[in-house]
């Protein structure tokens, strides 16, 4: 795997899942702890169906992510559930379910070439244009559509939303399903990036938490999330590829570096809270 290829995969994985988490958070729900699970199951579904075509795989992955995020949304919107415990429960659920499904399906095999186009003799990853388009599209959706405005209203000024006649539950559900779709699609890239020897029980190697950190540092704002997701993706790429440049060193030692640096970035960015209301609580930044 090339450096550039891995970087594109990591950017897609982290950017899309953090944008998905942003759709949760701007609506007032918290998805940070379930991201691992959503990515894992979406990735599994996508890889299993990658035999059809790349876009079908991504669609199916997104659908699987939507199903899982529906569970999270159900918990938070209707069952008055605790997002942290519920999210962690869904992550454990996803890990066990992934193993069970993988066993039922007799293993997961996919061809990486499915997700690559050939342009002028060079292999270009399918994820590249999608990753490039993700942040601008999210920004447009969130700030220039009625749905985005209402979603943000639900999260930030809930009483104003009620007064304006916004259907809060339905809006939050739509945000959650969209977030789940993005997270599921992101999982495909995550699993490809992690490589063939990866056991599904290990989730997506903690990338869900990196995405959650990117979302929190970005305060749920698309362009800032892009910045932090790029940072995290660069770190993760370094961690994944380091084994090729230093084969003698233990590979897993590099994998912890993104987390250390992500914690540092979190420390720097969590002190100020720029988004009011329930979104702040969803970001874990309320006081």
């Amino acid at each position: 795997m090339t450096l550039g290829g891995t970087f594109v995969l990591c950017v897609f994985a982290l950017l899309l899942s953090s944008l998905g988490a942003a759709f949760f958070a701007r609506g007032g729900l918290a998805a940070g702890f379930a991201l691992e699970g959503i990515m894992l199951l979406g990735g599994l579904a996508g890889l299993v169906s990658s035999g059809i075509s790349w876009w079908a795989a991504l669609l199916i992955a997104g659908a699987a992510g939507m199903v899982f995020s529906a569970l999270l949304a159900l918990l938070q919107i209707h069952l008055k559930g605790d997002p942290v415990i519920g999210g962690i429960a869904l992550t454990f659920l996803a890990a066990a379910l992934a193993m069970i499904l993988a066993r039922l399906l007799g293993g997961v095999s996919y061809n990486r070439k499915t997700f690559e186009w050939t342009l002028n003799g060079e292999a270009v990853s399918v994820f590249l244009p999608l990753a490039l388009a993700a942040a601008p599209l999210t920004w447009l959706l969130m700030y220039h559509t009625r749905f985005g405005l209402r979603l943000r209203l639900c999260g930030e000024e809930r009483n104003a939303a009620e007064n304006a006649g916004v259907r809060i539950q339905w809006t939050r559900w739509r945000g959650a399903l969209l977030g789940g779709f993005l997270g599921g699609a992101a999982g495909v890239a995550a699993l490809i990036a992690l490589g063939g020897g990866w056991t599904l029980k290990q989730g997506v190697g903690g990338m869900g938490f990196l995405a959650a950190a990117a979302m929190i540092c970005g305060q749920g704002k698309p362009w800032r999330i892009l910045l932090y997701a790029l940072m995290m993706a660069a770190l993760q790429t370094g961690a994944l590829m380091a084994v090729e440049y230093w084969p003698a060193a233990p590979q897993e030692a590099f994998r912890l570096i993104p987390f250390v640096l992500a914690l540092g970035i979190l420390c720097l960015k969590c002190r100020r809270n720029e988004v009011p209301g329930e979104t702040a609580r969803a970001l874990g930044l309320d006081d």
């Binding site: 940070g32 938070q76 415990i85 066990a96 903690g206 590979q251």
Partner: protein, 342 residues
Amino acid sequence: MRSKRFQRFLRALLSAILRLALGLALGYVEMTLIAYFHPAEGQASGIVPALTAAFEGGLMPMLRGGSSGFLTEAAKAAPAALLAIGVAFSWRAGLYQLGGAGQYALGAAACAACFTFFALPWYACLLVSAAAGCWMGAVAGWMKNRFRVHEGLSTAMMAWIGIYAVGAAMQCFSASKADFPGIELPAALLPAAAALLLWLGMALTAAGWAHGTRGESERIARYAGMDTGKITVLTLTISAALSGIAGGLGYCQGLLTQAPGIKLALSGLGAQGLAAGMLANGNPIGTVLAAGLTAHLANGANSLDTAVFSPEVGEWIVAQILYLSAAGMLTHAKKDKGGRSV
């Protein structure tokens, strides 16, 4: 019998039973689905054979559990129980300590190092395990106080740091298999002792009162003049130390057949621990009992009919119980957020 305390206890107990029963019932339905779509060889197809297969090959083995004696089962469940107590203790203070997996790995690695390189006795090894785990909680608490970083996120990320660190260490060093004859009795008693100590502390000391108050409302605790920052750091440290000891116990009893590390990242122990803590509504003594139950279920899953079901079904069901526990409407919520519909 009509006292408020007893009513609250009864409500908590009933909701725990409800969650358990619902989780098992859901699990049975899912096992039936698996048996229906993926029957074993020689099994007739159809709904009724699937129901029977799921019952005899799935549900009953799980409920029956392992075939070892009580002491052995208690000792084997001790790591999960200690993890559970740690998580429950910090949950009671309103803090989410989700780094159990990483602290477990570090504790096991520290214990292994002590035994392999220094040949220390078991209690010294466990103390080192506690130290190996507790720094995570301290750092997470400090980050929460100083930088307002959500402790759940920071502990979860530090867990991955710990897991990868131990994985890397295991690639450089190798540890000998633990040999601590007679460890079963202390292992079986340790969770109960820890739970008792914590419960007494929570019930009888001022610090314990502050700890519980912070769980009910952090704002009110601060308004009342309690040092919530110190409570945060201490609670998370104790919780992480307990998880470290859990890892050490796991190593001492030889429960870790592979290198403690990445394999444990999303292992059932974390789910069992959290589920037990939630079932008991955070009460330490109840948590030990609930942990025994969830460990029993998860270990029972090892004796499932492997032709049809994979052993992860046990973890799946425990995770479902955890999910149901998170649903406020089914729980006796420790923190009542005013009942406003979302």
